[in-house]
């Protein structure tokens, strides 16, 4: 009985919460907890299911599922490859691989949480990497400082993101289509700029800085950690993040609540573009080249990581921690396959299965929440 009362009260609270963009909305859309009904009534145990299911339904629980999956993968890795898998060098290899796609996925989390999608991330990485390694840019970097290459990549990424955002927010074009167009255009522009040749980086200071390591951990991994931390803070502890959830959850209600939805949408896409710029810098450092062939199919990897991390594709709920786990799961899977001499084709099938299983589990757990 009491649970039903609590539930209806929570529902009432919800409907009263929506119009006010104040702290009350915070409770309603807090991503680290499930729908308030499920989490709040967790105390009543007996009616809605046992403690384990309730734990799994909560935010920490969802991540727990991902952690378990990751641990399972690690166990398989250790079982099949022993200390080739468990060594520090191997862990660093996994992290270095995860770093580039991880940064892209963090940007993608914001866009998807805000109710959109961005298919052009791979092409933006390519364009940013090409633009930042043209002879002109490299000459400037040699004359002044390598940071100019970094700023070029970031600017190009942000500019592409801006175009995406404007098309989606003001042009009212469906995100799928707008970013699809950017996917083709950015890749084409990258090919034109580079004349389809690979551009080699001759600015040694750039390569040396990003190729180095701090306290034994590569700079690239630090960059991933920093971007992830900044993303988490932005999404969960700032008004910007709150607004993102509101816009993704119900754009019309957010607009009525006084949120400038269009401007916010543009900001989200610019943020994604910026993340692509950062990823481009990391890829440039890792390969010492800029090329129009970089970033192929990154959008699929990013979306897969974001989705299995627990972010809803329809928007309104998102988690940076989940995305990070998603990226780690896929890269660890890749590593285990490589260590065991297994074909990459089998791995792709496994990847598809993992995505399906993860989403089905999330749906079932969410459906069980009353």
């Amino acid at each position: 009985m009491s649970e039903e009362v609590a539930r209806s009260q929570a529902t009432q609270d919800q409907s009263q919460d929506v119009p006010t963009p104040s702290g009350q909305a915070m409770i309603e859309v807090d991503p680290t907890e499930t729908t308030p009904r499920g989490g709040r009534s967790g105390g009543d145990g007996g009616g809605t299911g046992n403690a384990v299911t309730n734990l799994l339904k909560s935010g920490a629980g969802r991540n727990l599922g991902l952690v378990i999956a990751l641990v399972l993968l690690c166990i398989v890795g250790v079982a099949t490859a022993g200390d080739r898998f468990a060594s520090t060098a191997n862990v660093l290899t996994i992290l270095r691989l995860a770093a580039v796609i991880g940064v892209v996925s963090i940007g993608m989390t914001f866009v998807i949480t805000g109710g959109g999608i961005d298919l052009s991330v791979g092409a933006m990485v390519a364009l940013a990497s090409v633009w930042a390694t043209t002879l002109a840019t490299q000459q400037l970097a040699t004359d002044y400082h390598w940071i100019l290459m970094v700023s070029t990549a970031l600017l190009v990424g942000a500019a592409c993101g801006l175009v995406n955002g404007l098309l989606v927010a003001y042009g009212k074009i469906v995100p799928f289509i707008a970013t699809l167009a950017m996917l083709a255009a950015a890749r084409g522009l990258a090919e034109i700029l580079s004349d389809r040749k690979t551009q080699i980086i001759t600015v040694n200071s750039f390569v040396d800085f990003f190729g180095g390591s701090l306290v034994g951990i590569p700079v690239l991994v630090w960059m991933f950690v920093l971007v992830a931390a900044a993303g988490w803070v932005l999404l969960n502890r700032t008004t910007f993040g709150r607004r993102t959830f509101a816009v993704g959850g119900n754009a019309e209600a957010a607009r009525l609540a006084g949120i400038k939805v269009q401007r916010h949408t543009v900001a989200l896409y610019v943020l994604t573009g910026l993340c692509c710029g950062i990823a481009a810098v990391m890829l440039m450092a890792r390969t010492t080249t800029g090329s129009s062939t970089h970033g192929g199919l990154y959008e699929l990897d990013a979306i897969a990581a974001v989705v299995i991390g627990g972010t809803l594709l329809s928007g309104g709920r998102g988690t940076i921690v989940g995305t990070v786990f998603g990226v780690l799961i896929f890269t660890t899977l890749n590593n285990v396959f490589t260590l065991n001499n297994l074909s990459i084709s089998a791995q792709s099938v496994a990847k598809g299965l993992i995505i399906v299983i993860a989403v089905l589990l999330q749906q079932r757990l969410a459906a069980r929440a009353p």
Binding site: I101, R196, K197, I200, R286, T287, T288, T289, I344
Partner: protein
């Protein structure tokens, strides 16, 4: 039995039958391939082939999305199997440089003795190859060159410029001095230096007899891209005298596009030397008149050289005791006259 359960049974029965039929259709090894494996093992073994110290070799190549690349990987694995002292670890199948770099990093962590690497992009994989060399691992570069001499101990490649020159020379000969012949070129992945080298050689050889490339398109070594590029080319040029297609795998698509267009006023020269094309040349009933070989044995040669390097042996038949820095394989032109000589070692698309 009720209508409903009958329907359920019928659906289940149909589903079961179709899945059985599908599963029965997955077998994919042709008879010829099985006998070929036996044939390749009967190769004469020289003194260098005597088993020596155990060698652990890591092999990485891009995705086998076309027959030539698939042949490279298969030949490499077959070669490694012939030696009892070679353990080959294969990590192939990606066109993503980020992923290929991490594959090589895994080899480094594994402390392999040698790495045979066909990079998706030579420049992009140069840093990690240099890292491997610095870690004491012998790196053998195959086909797509790194851009630093410190990144590999030995490079095995085909003669890309020579390929273009051979193709251009053959076309020059066939044109018999016709002055404004329309020559078209269908290249492979344009961002690769090897494609640029082939085109440069082709242009040079044509310039020698006063001809030039009138139309040029680029595909991606895959059948689908070849078909697309060729279809566009045929639209762009209403009359062509000769086409040089860089690669016979994309050539399958190219020939399909040509057939669909119904045009016959030109002849086609291929590249890489697939068995399909050689059979067509031999039969003499298609527009394909010749092809230039780009050996798909480079990976296998890489493994052989890596083994010699790690066991500190010399390359037989050479006086010099060290294995050469670069081994550039020859690019012969295959026509109807000499096709029988090359058909046995050609790769299947």
């Amino acid at each position: 039995m009720s209508v409903r359960s009958a329907r359920v049974l019928l659906t289940a029965g149909l589903a079961g039958l179709s899945s059985m039929a599908l599963i029965a259709c997955t077998s994919n090894t042709p008879e010829a391939e099985k006998t070929n494996d036996n044939a390749t093992q009967a190769v004469a073994a020289g003194g260098n082939d005597e088993p020596g110290k155990k060698v652990k070799i890591g092999f990485s190549a891009p995705a086998a999305d076309h027959g030539w690349m698939g042949a490279i990987t298969k030949a490499t694995q077959a070669e490694a199997k012939k030696y009892s002292d070679v353990e080959l670890i294969v990590a192939e199948g990606t066109n993503d440089v980020n992923l290929q770099i991490s594959q090589v990093e895994t080899f480094i962590n594994d402390k392999v003795d040698a790495i045979v690497l066909l990079p998706f992009d030579g420049a992009a994989l140069t840093p990690v190859a240099t890292k491997a060399m610095e870690a004491g691992i012998t790196v053998v570069n195959v086909d797509r060159e790194f851009d630093s001499t410190f990144a590999a101990r030995t490079t095995v490649l085909g003669d890309n410029k020579g390929m273009g020159v051979s193709a251009g020379t053959y076309i020059c000969k066939e044109m018999k001095g016709k002055k404004d012949a329309v020559i078209a070129e269908i290249a492979g992945i344009d961002s690769l230096p090897l494609t640029q080298a082939r085109s440069a050689g082709f242009k040079e050889a044509l310039a020698d007899c006063g001809l030039k490339v009138s139309n040029r398109v680029a595909a991606e070594f895959t059948v689908e891209s070849g078909e697309k590029a060729a279809a566009n080319l045929l639209q762009a040029a209403p009359k062509i005298d000769a086409i040089w297609n860089h690669d016979d795998d994309q050539g399958v698509g190219v020939m399909a596009a040509i057939k669909n267009s119904g045009r016959k006023e030109f002849f086609v020269v291929g590249g890489a030397g697939s068995a399909n094309v050689m059979r067509d040349i031999k039969a003499g009933n298609s527009l394909l008149k010749a092809t230039v070989i780009y050996p798909s044995t480079q990976g296998a040669d890489g493994v052989k050289l890596a083994r010699l390097l790690v066991q500190k042996k010399a390359l037989g038949d050479l006086v010099e005791v060290e294995v050469p820095r670069t081994v550039q394989l020859y690019a012969p032109v295959v026509t109807k006259d000499n096709v029988d000589q090359y058909l046995p070692t050609a790769f299947e698309s």
